[in-house]
């Protein structure tokens, strides 16, 4: 107490000036949720490194193949299995195709699969989870039981079976992945909606007569967007990994199109004589997974501090 008194002067105890209300003015611009999250994310060096890596990779995937003097399927059979050189930065594969171009083109396929599969999972998962969480009761009970059963299945096994049924091919890969991966998203969205719908703003909206559909789409789901983004970011590397896995087993995309998984599988056959053929695509898969992992962790900390350390 004595300590506190020493810091106080007579001026601190004087009555506030009348009329002006100057003390009541907010001097700093108000911080929106997104600005706050961005500020927190920027402080996380690993997450920013991940974000920059992903942006560079995405740019390389989009523009790289067009800038390269070769195409991903152009074969120079007399130049097969060449080590990295000025003409072929990553060397060439067993059919004399430029590996740098193929890796960049593979980035296009792998990133596309990762993102599209996650979007399929997002579409199904968000609607499913939101409906279950919003209506609650028996509806929720039955819907979540179904999710529990699917969640108990060995994921990759069913992706493999679906690929056997659908046949190899790019869109089948992300359909199969999306068809299996949506359950995690559904669980997260449901949990979020369950807690959100008890909040005052929902009651206010209900009292004002907002119809349930609008309440769900305009008020509840937008408020759950933080965890949704985090889940999405962590889903992308998982889908990329699964696609590589499928391609390694020969169930992924069809030749001559190559994803990173195909490149690793092909390169492995020549590992003794031409190790660069497997090292470069393997490096790219690992870097991408690492980047998405760091970004996902950082986003989780930034968007949803409650989920930290989980």
């Amino acid at each position: 107490m004595a300590e506190l008194l020493r810091h106080l002067s007579a001026r601190d105890l004087a009555p506030a000036p009348r009329g002006g209300e100057a003390w009541n003015v907010i001097e700093q611009p108000s911080q929106s949720f997104w600005w706050d999250a961005w500020r927190r994310l920027r402080q996380n060096r690993m997450a920013m490194a991940g974000l920059v890596t992903i942006v560079i990779l995405a740019a390389a995937a989009v523009f790289g193949p067009a800038l390269s003097p070769y195409t991903y399927d152009y074969q120079q059979l007399d130049l097969h299995d060449q080590p990295p050189s000025a003409a072929h930065w990553f060397g060439t594969d067993m059919l004399g195709r430029d590996l740098f171009t193929r890796v960049l083109f593979g980035a296009r396929i792998s990133l596309a699969v990762g993102i599209l599969a996650s979007l399929v999972a997002l579409g199904i998962g968000v609607i499913y989870g939101a409906v279950a969480g919003f209506y609650g009761g028996q509806v929720d009970n039955v819907m979540m039981r179904i999710v529990d059963v699917i969640y108990g299945l060995p994921f990759l096994l069913y992706v493999i079976l679906l690929m056997v049924v659908l046949g190899p091919g790019l869109q089948n890969v992300f359909l199969a992945l999306g068809a299996v991966y949506w359950t995690g998203m559904a669980r997260i969205v449901r949990a979020e909606i369950l807690s959100l719908k008890e909040r005052e703003f929902v009651m206010a909206a209900r009292t004002l007569g907002v119809p349930p559909r609008r309440l769900l789409l305009r008020h509840l789901i937008p408020n759950a967007v933080g965890p949704i983004i985090v889940t999405l970011t962590l889903l992308v590397p998982e889908a990329i990994f699964s696609e590589a896995f499928l391609s390694y087993l020969g169930l992924g995309v069809r030749a001559p199109i190559a994803s990173w998984g195909v490149l690793v599988a092909d390169g492995y056959k020549a590992i003794r004589a031409a190790p660069w053929e497997v090292i470069f695509p393997a490096l790219f898969i690992s870097i991408t997974m690492l980047a998405f992992g760091f970004l996902g962790d950082g986003l989780r900390d930034a968007l949803d501090p409650r989920m930290r350390n989980r």
Binding site: G152, L153, Y158, G167, Y268, V278, S286
Partner: protein
């Protein structure tokens, strides 16, 4: 407790039924029959084959027949390996896969727990940073990339380990490392997080005040509580090692179930695909059930919470 166990058993059986039905439907949705060959078989032979494998029956009867046989642990004959039953194929492969998987799980558990504890004890120090960086990388690098790098370095470059096949301890080293590195990273992260939390609690301070040796406090008092999240991870861990073995057994030419599964897919051996899928699923369901029971037994709080929400 009894109610909880019955509840879990019923839902496990339900999951199993869904899996069997789903697999059956998927396999019958595959275009083309199992006896489609390059040369068309004479109709009489096809008829006989279909009769022999009950493919001339209506679908519902085939389904019931399959269920009936499954209830007797009979997976039926293989379509491609004439004279061999799927049971025999699974039995041959499972012994190898179980050894490989068991070793991988053991290595992942021991390595992960140790790394996590060490990191937690030196929280913020360089050991912690090294372990956590290693864990992030281990999480991002797919098992087949690890295997590829190991084969290149240890088998072709340094020539200290054999590049494949199965039987001797030396041949097991690289497959086990490739399979266990990812799970080990996850376990290390879990253990570190919960260990840091536990070490801050009052009973640890009390134990220290009572003058218990540091080692006892760490490995008996703290670890017992910090290891709980690892138990929940045992289910996904088993799943990861099982599916991981598809590719790893392929790379190292190990005659296990994973390779058998992949072969049966490329051979379009439908009964073998169905059999191995169901067998894998049963393994996983049993593993998940055991994990839940152990968890409920170790931590009574879960039992109460789950009983209430069910």
């Amino acid at each position: 407790m009894a109610r909880y166990i019955t509840g879990r058993l019923v839902s496990s059986l339900l999951t199993l039924w869904v899996i069997v039905t789903l697999t059956f439907v998927l396999m019958h949705a595959v275009p083309g029959g199992p006896f489609d060959t390059e040369k068309a078989l004479p109709q009489a032979i096809l008829d006989n084959l279909n009769k022999r494998y009950h493919l001339d029956w209506p679908l519902w009867r085939q389904y019931l027949y399959y269920l009936w046989n499954l209830a007797h642990f009979d997976f039926g004959p293989s379509f491609k390996h004439i004279g061999q039953s799927v049971n025999e194929i699974i039995a041959q492969g499972f012994r190898v896969s179980a050894t490989l998987g068991g070793m991988a799980i053991a290595v992942a558990l021991i390595g992960g727990v140790l790394a996590g504890v060490v990191a937690a004890l030196r929280q913020g120090g360089w050991v912690d940073h090294v372990v956590m960086t290693f864990a992030s990388v281990g999480l991002a690098v797919p098992s087949f990339v690890v295997a590829t790098v190991l084969v290149y370095l240890l088998a072709y470059h340094l020539k200290v380990l054999p590049a494949g096949l199965w039987g001797t301890p030396a041949q097991a080293v690289m497959p086990v490392i490739s399979l266990s590195l990812g799970p080990m990273a996850v376990i290390a992260r879990y253990v570190r997080t919960s260990m840091v939390e536990v070490l801050r609690q009052d009973f640890i301070t009390t134990a220290r005040a009572k003058g218990l040796p540091r080692r006892t406090i760490t490995y008996v008092h703290a670890l017992k509580n910090a290891i709980l999240p690892v138990i929940t991870y045992m289910g996904p861990l088993t799943a990861g090692v099982l599916t991981g073995s598809f590719v790893i057994e392929q790379i190292f030419a190990i005659p296990g179930m994973g390779r058998e599964f992949v072969l049966s897919i490329t051979d379009r051996d439908y009964t073998a695909i169905m059999g191995t899928t169901v067998f894998y699923s049963v393994l996983l369901i049993v593993a998940n059930l055991l994990v839940d029971l152990v968890y409920a037994w170790v931590d009574p709080r879960i039992r109460v919470a789950k009983g209430a929400s069910d």
